[in-house]
């Protein structure tokens, strides 16, 4: 009977305590919600970034496996089909495959400019051993038909082509009409950039797959191949295989084999994935860190103001555990609410994210999937955060001896602070001194509050700076480096005299020729396959513009290397390299590094065109030209160039720029929107909670000032001045953190293809500060409304 009574008592007791919890949560709803939102943002980044990362990796792996994506890639001039067996025999090679692949001109309806197609051969009687394609519409090529073609999906969509349509192409100088029988995708072209371009141009560059018996003869490749791939046996060292493959293909004009990680499409996708993983761990860490700090702050102060109640509860016989649990529930409630909002929001955002990826990478069956494991991790991290944030405060609460806790708190101890001892205090009014002393009394709390707000500034900086960097890069690349109106590239090297034919064409006002020569540069055991870009020494259309926007002269002798390439090869100015030419006579020669300059795109070696001729032993050949043209004649010129069989492609930096900038503007808009949201959540979370807690601690003090005749505005200044100082201090701190994080990001995102300039504009600093200040001001305004309704009369009587 006794046991049963005490059980009932325990149940009732707990229920009353739960009622207290619910009522107080309702009372503190603003604070709980703002913490929940910070937690939600953290969870949302985990669910969005982590979830889409997992989904992408899963789709990528499945796709690669299904399509038997190769591990090692190699291209060469021409080798007999019998070589395939020799490749297959290299130790460590599980599967080998070969094919024919060429660039050709497409004659597209409604497009004046020549378009390019990458023609790739397919075995007619079976699917490729490696690098298979996935037919999305139509069918595979028929073994008996010689004019059937399968085209890449993005190109098909951009041009509105369907199976059953015809496409006119110029193969090896001969115009032909091909029947489109299928539309396909393949992992090696999931991000396809035409040669000479920096970005996908789906309306004028496509991949066309044809049967090898139809394509081979057209290029004089009957029974021969010019591309070979290898799938490695598990656990095999790819470097050994690459070396063997290079040795094997060297006599056949091998351009140097490379691993999957250097395959352009894979490299782009992997870069995105890596970025996603970095963001997916760094961002949630920041948000959850701020949330833990807020929980600690809010609960700590809540418990201080509830000292009396805790004492009463304990005097009535509640155990430490019950009291502790009661306060922990506040933290858990905020965190669980945040997790719920974050999960729902994160899943919606994740789907949107994946939709954007689908536009760039045609990964089949790419769906946003949230793994239960990830959700569990997010939940555990946030609950752990809540508990660690609340633990200190809760421990303080249960340690209070009841008798001591019931006594009213003595006036807080204040002393003139550091700044006043410096003499600054004399310059301040009494209100100024109040604000300053409140900040200085709890310097750690003020510092951490500032740190929280500073993260909001920093998040904005790292987001905005990326766009500063991209815009700077575009400006440099398209307005200062590529000053030509049109780039013409030829299918093969042509005589240098072609320049005169070009300059005679209608509308051409200036011609500068170039030559891209594939090469292996070697310094001791460091080597790298790249291309030496031979430029005219006195050219004005293409110049070497450094990151500092100065023009690096092209010396009469020697190479000028981009800084990244020089670092990879461990050479400095004045050092010598061995240049093994990978085309033509394939001769090797020593060449001196005459200069090194910092650039953002690619890893290139530049050389004077004449010096390149001497180095390669092949004179007066060019692979393309940069043209200045009269704008009015541009389309006429395009039409004329389209009829020149040797022309592989025509690129226009201006048209590239327009589509890129439009795309960029849209992305900036979306990303900045999210960043502003995320940063505001943090700033509001810190400032709103800080001000609300200060109000509950000092409401009595402020009300007595109102009684003495202070206006609402004056009292608000006293309360919010402290938050103002915290915000002001946070701005330079956030700038510094943002600078540091941006620097780390630049280092982390530095790849061979792409480097982000590390240059944060004053505007970015300004915008980051402004948005944070606005968010802080908004929080202050909300608290101010509460301040206006202070109960003045209660001040006269009650003692907290």
């Amino acid at each position: 009977m006794v046991t049963r009574a005490s059980q009932w008592a325990a149940l009732w007791r707990v229920r009353t305590l739960q009622l207290k919890l619910l009522r107080e949560c309702w009372h503190l709803k603003g604070q709980i919600l703002s913490i929940a939102l910070v937690v939600a943002t953290g969870i949302m980044t985990v669910i969005t970034m982590g979830g889409s990362y997992e989904s992408l990796v899963e789709a990528q792996q499945r796709y690669y496996n299904d399509m038997r994506f190769a591990d090692v890639w190699s291209s060469l001039r021409r080798a007999p089909e019998s070589m395939r067996e020799r490749i297959q025999a290299i130790p460590g090679v599980a599967l080998a495959d070969t094919r024919v692949s060429f660039l050709a001109t497409l004659d597209l309806e409604g497009l004046d400019a020549p378009a390019q197609g990458r023609f790739v051969s397919l075995p007619e009687n079976s699917r490729p051993i490696l690098n298979d394609i996935l037919i999305v519409r139509g069918r595979y090529v028929d073994s008996n038909a010689s004019d059937e073609v399968i085209i890449s999906e993005k190109f098909a969509n951009a041009r509105g082509l369907h199976p059953g349509d015809e496409i006119r192409v110029i193969i090896n100088g001969r115009a032909r009409s091909l029947d489109i029988v299928g539309v396909a995708i393949s992992p090696e072209h999931s991000y396809s950039v035409p040669p000479g371009s920096l970005l996908p141009e789906d309306d004028r560059y496509g991949v066309l797959w044809m049967g090898v018996r139809a394509l081979g003869p057209a290029y004089d490749m009957d029974g021969a191949f010019n591309e070979a791939f290898v799938k490695l046996s598990p656990g095999v060292n790819e470097r050994a295989v690459i070396a063997s493959l290079n040795d094997l293909l060297e006599p056949y004009g091998g351009y140097g084999a490379y691993a999957r990680r250097d395959q352009p499409s894979h490299m782009m996708l992997q870069g995105e994935l890596d970025q996603n993983r970095v963001m997916g761990t760094a961002m949630p860490a920041v948000f959850l860190g701020v949330a833990v700090f807020l929980l600690h702050l809010v609960l700590g102060r809540l418990i201080t103001t509830q000292g009396g109640e805790i004492a009463v509860l304990k005097a009535f016989g509640y155990t430490d555990a019950e009291v502790g649990r009661h306060f922990l529930m506040f933290a858990l409630l905020a965190v669980l609410l945040g997790t719920l909002i974050g999960t729902v929001g994160g899943m919606a955002l994740g789907r949107g994210y994946i939709d954007i990826y689908r536009q760039y990478f045609d990964l089949p069956d790419l769906q946003y999937r949230l793994s239960p494991g990830l959700l569990l991790i997010a939940l555990l991290v946030s609950v752990a955060g809540a508990i660690s944030g609340a633990m200190g405060a809760v421990r303080k609460a249960v340690q209070l001896p009841p008798a001591e806790a019931m006594r009213p708190e003595p006036p807080a101890r204040f002393t003139p602070g550091f700044l006043e001892r410096l003499g600054i205090g004399r310059l301040l009014s009494a209100s100024g001194r109040m604000i300053l002393r409140n900040v200085e009394r709890k310097p750690l709390q003020a510092f951490f509050s500032s740190l929280g707000v500073a993260f909001s500034v920093a998040i904005l900086i790292i987001g905005l700076f990326m766009y500063d960097g991209v815009i700077q890069l575009i400006d440099l690349q398209f307005r200062k480096i590529q000053r030509e109106d049109i780039t013409v590239s030829f299918l093969q090297n042509v005589p240098a005299s072609t320049r005169f034919e070009l300059s005679r064409m209608t509308g051409v006002t200036r011609v500068e020729t170039y030559r891209g020569a594939p090469v292996r540069l070697r310094n001791a055991h460091w080597h790298r396959e790249t291309a030496i870009q031979g430029l005219e020494g006195d050219g004005v259309l293409r110049r070497l513009v450094t990151a500092q926007e100065t023009v690096h002269p092209i010396p009469a002798q020697g190479l000028v290397l981009s800084k990244v390439l020089a670092e990879r090869l461990h050479v400095g100015v004045g050092d010598w390299l061995t240049a093994e030419m990978l085309e033509g006579k394939r001769q090797s020669a020593q060449v001196q590094v005459a200069g090194i300059f910092e650039d953002f795109l690619g890893v290139t070696a530049y050389m004077n065109l004449d010096a390149l001729d001497r180095l390669s032993g092949e004179y007066d050949v060019i692979s393309g030209a940069y043209l200045s043209v009269l704008e009015s004649e541009r389309n006429a010129l395009y039409r004329a160039l389209k009829r020149v069989p040797a022309v592989a492609g025509v690129a226009s930096p201006a048209s590239m720029l327009v589509s890129f900038e439009r795309e960029l503007a849209r992305n900036i808009f979306i990303s900045v929107g999210f960043l502003v949201g995320f940063a505001s959540v943090i700033a509001v979370g810190v400032i709103y909670n800080g001000a609300r807690i200060a109000l509950s601690e000092r409401g009595r003090e402020l009300a007595s000032l109102r009684v003495m005749g202070f206006h609402r505005r004056e009292v608000a200044t006293l309360l919010l001045g402290e938050q103002g100082i915290i915000t002001l201090f946070a701005i330079p701190l956030g700038w510094a953190i943002g600078y540091g994080l941006a620097y780390l990001m630049v280092l982390g995102l530095q790849t061979d293809t792409f480097r982000i300039p590390f240059d944060i504009s004053p505007r970015t600093y300004g915008v980051a500060a402004l948005i944070t200040v606005l968010a802080a001001a908004f929080s202050a305004l909300v608290v101010r409304r509460r301040l206006d309704s202070l109960d003045l009369i209660s001040v006269l009587k009650t003692r907290e």
Binding site: A430, S431, R433, R437, V707, I793
Partner: protein, 247 residues
């Protein structure tokens, strides 16, 4: 009732500062109506020291709040000089408190982050023609403790700072709500003597709320309240010396 009217006539030589006629205050708390004040007539004159006696719940605090512009009456009129306070806006009431009223609270309500001197200058900063903070603190005998923070002062000292803060603006009316309520007898007497001296030396009209009948002897006028009404009005021909009262 006749007595009370006689008192008013006796003081008619001094100018009236606050005139309340038929003041009532009703609190609507859900379905319950609480009549906190019923038809109060009251005039406070220049230099007068008024003691409002009553048990808790008698309505004395409600009356003080209305006189001090912290609350407004449900009916009746209240004049400060020629200015009507019944029906004044929140901003007008703020200015009334700021320029003319000094408050002393039972629990001092000092700003813990400011020293004694700074607590006083907080008010002198916004007053029209205040005393210097040092002068006000000297009046309450705290010239040697001016740079101490509240946490470094005793209860009596804190209350004297509160009085200095209230009088520093040279208010016309000083309203004190249980100023000795949180103090022991000796310290309470010290605080009352400060209020008494300030009233004599500055001529500030002073109203003291207390539940302690003994304190009534130091006032010119003593009102006893019960259930929201003034049930007794007394006039002391001679104000008792604070040192001689006991409780």
């Amino acid at each position: 009732m006749n007595d009370a009217q006689a008192i008013d006539r006796d003081d008619s030589t001094a100018r009236p500062v606050l005139r309340a006629t038929g003041l009532s205050k009703v609190y609507e708390m859900g379905e319950v109506r609480v009549q906190a004040l019923k038809n109060i007539d009251l005039t406070l004159h220049e230099r007068e020291l008024l003691v409002l006696l009553g048990a808790s719940g008698s309505g004395k605090s409600t009356l003080l709040n209305i006189l001090g512009g912290l609350d407004v009456a449900s009916s009746g009129s209240l004049f400060y000089g020629e200015q009507e306070l019944s029906g004044a806006s929140q901003t007008e009431l703020t200015y009334y408190r700021r320029d003319h009223v000094g408050f002393v609270f039972q629990f001092y309500n000092l700003i813990s982050s400011l020293t004694a001197r700074e607590n006083v200058s907080l008010v002198t900063d916004i007053a029209v023609s205040p005393m210097r903070p040092e002068e006000a603190l000297a009046l309450v005998g705290l010239e040697s403790r001016m740079d101490h923070f509240p946490a470094q002062l005793s209860g009596g000292e804190q209350q004297r700072v509160a009085i200095a803060r209230a009088i520093a603006k040279r208010p016309h009316i000083l309203l004190c709500d249980e100023p000795t309520g949180a103090l022991d007898v000796g310290t309470g007497r010290l605080v009352l003597s400060v209020l008494d001296r300030v009233n004599r030396e500055t001529g500030t009209t002073t109203a003291i709320i207390t539940h302690n009948a003994a304190i009534g002897r130091i006032g010119d006028t003593v009102l006893r309240m019960s259930s929201g009404e003034i049930v007794e009005r007394m006039h002391n021909a001679q104000r008792e010396d604070v040192e001689r009262i006991e409780w």
